[in-house]
Symmetry: C3
Subunit: 150 residues, 3 copies
């Protein structure tokens, strides 16, 4: 089954690929590794503003991380032409805009990780770090970057 | 001398390899690079909870980072079968759960870096970034991830 | 035009390469990838202390990020012998010492990104993540690490 077929089976339509908000590119390849820029969560086309532990629940954060996974796949499709060229999702770095007492960054990050595994299967099993940051660009609640083997 | 012999010489027994706390794997390889997930500090089998600048000293944080290095080596041994397959510890990312006025993240991180150099010698000389995060999964005091050449 | 000529054309003189402040190396190579340690901002040879949103403006932070780019290039020249050996700046990780309400980390990071693009042209177009950290080693205002293809 192609990755595109898998997306259809899961009822997933990818959003349009994003554009960088500043002086960088969305993804840069070196050899067989594609380094994907940090993608901030978006809602209705705008930065999804919020902070875990202050005005967002873990469940809402997980939904935000899920939406970032969609944006990341859109970037991958744009960069590679075809998601079947993803050999392995290797590494995710998940930054969660957190108060100093919010400690469920790993559960928020699951919103992204679980979708990647659902879409890519074994090719989606990735190493990961998740942690709480003081703040994110434009006040976004979550930001995630990837390293992908192609 | 094998790496195992070196561990014995240093009087080090590795703990059992950890299991992921969520939807990811402890390490993922792409080509000759092994990306190791962020490992949080543990004490008596549970997350080592604390924040530098609030209720932990730099020295205690360094001890926590040292214990993470043991867990990271256990993961490497589990993933590679044999620590001799480590060609180079390439990069460490050291996240220190910090108040806004704690500025010794580099000294905390040394607890991990110094042990890696002691065990792997020249193969352990790695690039590194260390910084203070707002909070970590399960309230852990330190989290460290690695990139390893195999 | 060599990269050295481009630096001259831009009126840029690189500072001396830095030395690690702790138990790590400034850059470690694995295959064709050079992982460069996080470099903190420096002013007059000392850590450039400050926090965005508290006692530094976005414009000052951008200047600090620009100065780090100079230090990063000095490290690259020291590690590679010649900046022409840089095939591609692949990835930048930009850590901005931020209050919990400062949300312009991406604009601060541009101080580094724009200089890399000015010097390396297409070879300088990199993926990037920028975020706000609770604190940095020695109180520095900005820290940046790179992944470079050689």
């Amino acid at each position: 089954m192609t990755t595109q077929d898998k997306l259809k089976q899961l009822g997933i339509t990818l959003p349009p690929a994003g554009k960088p908000a500043a002086a960088f590119v969305m993804a840069a390849q070196a050899g067989n590794l594609l380094f994907v820029s940090g993608h901030i969560a978006r809602k209705d086309g705008k930065p999804w503003v919020g902070q875990l532990g202050k005005n967002m629940t873990t469940s809402e954060g997980k939904t935000a991380a899920h939406s970032i996974a969609l944006d990341l796949m859109a970037t991958l499709e744009d960069a590679l032409g075809n998601l079947d060229r993803v050999k392995r999702i290797v590494k995710a770095l998940c930054l969660v805009n957190s108060t100093t007492d919010f400690t469920e960054q790993h559960l928020v990050a699951n919103g992204c990780s679980e979708l990647l595994v659902a879409v890519f299967g074994e090719r989606g099993a990735h190493a990961r770090s998740a942690f709480g940051v003081a703040q994110l660009p434009m006040g976004a609640c979550v930001e995630i970057e990837l390293v992908v083997e192609v």
